[in-house]
């Protein structure tokens, strides 16, 4: 029996609760923590903070992710916390009616999904062009125009790499190149793994004290997947899945040899997990694909081949997982052959009794 009488319908918010609400709203929308004061300012008035959500070269996965958000859930977010004034997947109005209310709004944070679409040659900018075409005045392109002004509070929390992150970097540093997943002109909009961390954005954001490279918050990107993986002990002991479906896969051994990119990927997936049901890819027997790392579509593929140059400890628990990370880029001599032998050797010694 579900919560057919939704208590959320009668919220009693005090000031503290309201601040919390602002933080929740920022987190749910994937805004940087720098935006929280602005949301609080907006929220101090009777108005709910207005939010304009733009979709570019994306797959709507971020919106789907928002649908899966449980705290705050979507109804609470939309009715109590923010005023989602523009969101093409949700809004009732279409066409010019959709754009009218947002044209004269005040400052609004923009969490766009995906990147703008254009070719190497700058031949086409479909989304940009259509607005320009219709509105004539480039300063009045509806919500789109805000992108060209100062509202560049992009979301790094939700979209790890390839999508808006890349777009933003390119925007701020023109000429930094087309470092993206795709080797040809089409832009691959990615939904890097971090974005569906929808169920707990609040706890994530509140702990965001620092950032590592790429302006990514430490709470989400501070450690390698490998560091908190429940199968790490198998890695350390040299127990590996050799092929999907083999006896070692069924026993839940380390997935490194079938392509897991956990040793090279910075994300909190194993700690925070997904969808409120304590799962993540490794828990269903599939390796990490490194989807929070920049350009992972190129650097982490083939997904089912093992990472090169990962040093496998001969035995026992090592004291610094960072050592492994440093060897990943090939600084240290490769130990792939050794680890394989160690793994097989260990199984020969004691494998059968474990199964």
């Amino acid at each position: 029996m579900a919560d057919t009488v939704n208590k959320a319908l009668e919220p009693q918010l005090d000031r503290r609760g309201f601040l919390k609400g602002c933080t929740m709203a920022a987190a749910a929308l994937g805004l940087s923590e720098a935006m929280i004061p602005k949301l609080v300012e907006a929220a101090a008035t009777a108005e709910r903070p207005r939010v304009i959500w733009l979709h570019f070269q994306e797959c709507t996965g971020c919106t789907e992710s928002l649908l899966r958000s449980s705290h705050p859930d979507l109804a609470r977010l939309l009715l109590d916390i923010i005023s989602l004034d523009y969101h093409e997947t949700v809004m009732a109005a279409a066409g010019h009616q959709a754009e009218k209310p947002s044209r004269d709004r005040g400052e609004a944070p923009l969490p766009p999904c995906g990147r703008r679409c254009h070719s190497h040659q700058g031949e086409w900018h479909p989304l940009y062009d259509r607005r320009q075409d219709r509105h004539g005045d480039p300063q009045d392109r509806g919500p789109q125009s805000h992108r060209h002004h100062r509202h560049r509070h992009l979301c790094h929390l939700r979209r790890g790499s390839g999508g808006s992150t890349e777009s933003d970097r390119r925007g701020r540093r023109p000429g930094s190149g087309q470092r993206q997943a795709d080797r040809q002109h089409p832009r691959l909009s990615t939904q890097p793994g971090i974005f569906p961390r929808h169920h707990s954005p609040l706890s994530d954001l509140q702990k965001a004290a620092g950032t590592r490279q790429l302006n990514r918050p430490l709470f989400a990107y501070g450690r390698r997947i490998h560091d908190h993986c429940e199968r790490r002990a198998h890695f350390d002991e040299g127990r590996f899945v050799e092929n999907f479906g083999d006896q070692y896969h069924k026993l839940g051994y380390c997935l490194y040899k079938v392509g897991c990119k956990g040793p090279e990927t910075f994300s909190n997936c194993p700690a925070v997990r997904f969808n409120d049901v304590d799962v993540w890819p490794v828990s269903v027997g599939h390796g990490c694909i490194g989807c929070t790392e920049p350009n992972f579509w190129d650097t982490m593929t083939p997904f089912y081949e093992r990472l090169p140059n990962v040093k496998i400890p001969a035995t026992g628990i090592i004291d610094s997982a960072d050592q492994i990370g440093k060897t990943v880029l090939g600084v240290t001599a490769a130990a792939v052959g050794i680890h394989a032998v160690v793994g097989i050797g260990k199984r020969l010694i004691k494998g059968k009794s474990e199964e």
Partner: protein, 520 residues
């Protein structure tokens, strides 16, 4: 003098769509449907390991992730002549059916309902009368006067705040909004409840898929999900019961709320039933396979032309020659270099933007054709094709649904009423009801087999030989087809994706009338 109306953006869809119509004397005389975004997944996939492709193509659409993924791995398996383990097939079915439960609910409530339901009108509803109306339709426990009063207060607070958010500037109060205030209040309440139930479905899906919207438990050759009651790292009985409970809750919502609301909308908007039939050629892919080889589909595939059930031709397997030989895609109107119709595995994707040309190219969408004809795909196509073949579950479900509509509408509504916009909603609701039964059938299958034998190895190395591949599947909202060929080096050489995702080629139904939105 014809008047040109441009609707851009078309909202509450996935992607970027623009629709232009010319209206003369109150009638639409010309129409253009323009996909506004280019993705180019076909080119991105070239030269990559085919085993990786499914993870890429899932990102075609964050809404219909699983179906793209399944079509991709099946395509590679088809190229390799690979059977997958029976239990892996069942897990894939579970993924697909639970995803449908989620998506059909979202499609009706979050995306479509606002075309039929006047949110502001709910303010003048009497909660007690609303409860009486709801009780006459279903015994859903959420239909209480207290609940409806709370929802009404919530709507009032929203309207009083002056910040309608996503509900701003819509057609509230328009004469074409037919529902009485009580029906509107009931629907708004269900809209909010639907947000909870769609999430429950995604939780069930994540238990198998590792996460979603983008799942990560597939692999060429099977699935990676290990069902084993005796291993703590596997999906154990505890997890299976969790799925069962979630699916039961969602199924109850579908049966007692979603299907009932679609019946009510259909009956109260009976005048709209003839509209929106669009293309009445139907194509459905066989799906939910019950054997390792993928030859025995629980949901039948096939084609029906001109809405005539007698024209039914079955499609039994994904690589069916009847399908494979007859499907083509055209770029006559799309921003790609050239002007041809080709089989998907022979076609190319070379973007060439020309701006919007009324008589030339105006969209990023390639146009798939079957025997040169546009086809309607998706839940209605699956119902029509299943009905025409006398598929027991389809016939029973469709007839049962039509009986309910007839009872509420006070007139006999037959299957011909399904050709239209409301019919598509009805078919989707019926399909949701059918898909809700599927997981428990799968559970029953497991009780007859050894759950330990779930998995098998995926293809161990690079794809070894030249081959061509095809796979097609019906999605919650449309259908997609995956084709590919691999060269001797085992890399993807040509890949193609037929999908209505704007920016990836193809919408099997490209006519404006088939856009599943309703305007007043």
């Amino acid at each position: 003098m014809a008047q040109r109306i441009t609707i851009d953006p078309v909202t509450r869809i996935e992607g970027h769509l623009r629709v232009d119509v010319e209206v003369d004397g109150g009638k639409v005389t010309k129409a253009w449907s323009s996909g506004q975004m280019y993705r180019g997944l076909e080119n991105i996939l070239k030269g990559r390991d085919p085993r990786d492709a499914w993870l890429f193509v899932q990102r075609i659409c964050g809404v219909c992730t699983t179906v793209h993924a399944l079509a991709s791995v099946r395509s590679v398996e088809n190229a390799l002549g690979l059977e997958i383990p029976y239990n892996a097939q069942l897990i894939r079915n579970l993924v697909q059916s639970i995803h449908c439960l989620h998506d059909h609910i979202v499609h009706f409530y979050a995306l479509s309902a606002l075309d039929w339901v006047d949110v502001v009108s709910a303010l003048s509803a009497d909660p007690v009368k609303t409860a009486a109306l709801a009780d006459s339709l279903s015994d859903w426990p959420g239909n209480s006067p207290k609940r409806f009063a709370a929802v009404k207060a919530k709507v009032k607070a929203l309207v009083d705040s002056g910040q309608l958010g996503p509900f701003a500037n819509a057609y509230w109060g328009h004469a074409a909004m037919k529902l009485p205030p009580e029906a509107n209040l009931m629907a708004v309440s269900h809209y909010l409840e639907a947000l909870d139930y769609q999430r429950k479905a995604t939780m069930a899906l994540a238990i198998i898929g590792g996460k979603n919207p983008h799942i990560q438990n597939l692999t060429v050759g099977g699935v990676t999900t290990n069902i084993n009651p005796e291993n703590q790292t596997a999906v154990t009985m505890e997890r299976l019961y969790y799925i069962k409970q979630l699916v039961e809750e969602v199924s109850s919502f579908i049966k007692n709320v979603y299907m009932v609301d679609v019946v009510a909308v259909g009956a109260l908007y009976a005048g709209w039933i003839p509209y929106g039939a669009g293309v009445t050629n139907y194509l459905a892919a066989p799906d939910m396979f019950l054997d390792a080889a993928g030859t025995k589909a629980d949901l039948p595939g096939g084609t029906v032309f001109g809405g005539d059930l007698k024209t039914i031709k079955p499609i039994n397997v994904h690589a069916d020659a009847y399908f494979k030989e007859n499907v083509q895609e055209s770029i006559a109107k799309a921003w790609y270099d050239g002007n041809w119709s080709k089989h998907p595995w022979e076609s190319t994707t070379d973007p060439k933007f020309t701006d919007f040309q009324d008589d030339g190219k105006y969209t990023w969408l390639k146009a798939p054709r079957f025997q040169g004809k546009p086809m309607q795909v998706g839940p209605l196509a699956q119902m029509v094709v299943g009905y025409a073949q006398g598929h027991e579950m389809t016939v029973k479900s469709v007839n049962g649904f039509l009986e309910k509509v007839s009872a509420v509408a006070g007139t006999t509504v037959g299957p011909e009423a399904l050709h239209g916009t409301i019919g598509r909603h009805a078919a989707r609701a019926v399909r949701a009801g059918m898909m809700a039964i599927s997981p428990s059938n799968i559970g029953a299958s497991w009780s007859r087999t050894s759950p330990k034998a779930t998995m098998r190895s995926s293809v161990p190395g690079p794809i070894p030989r030249a081959n061509s591949a095809v796979s097609v599947s019906t999605r919650p909202r449309a259908a997609c087809c995956r084709t590919g060929s691999s060269s001797k080096t085992g890399k993807s050489k040509i890949t193609n994706v037929l999908s209505p995702r704007p920016g990836t080629p193809g919408r099997v139904t490209t006519r404006t009338s088939s856009v599943p939105t309703r305007r007043h």
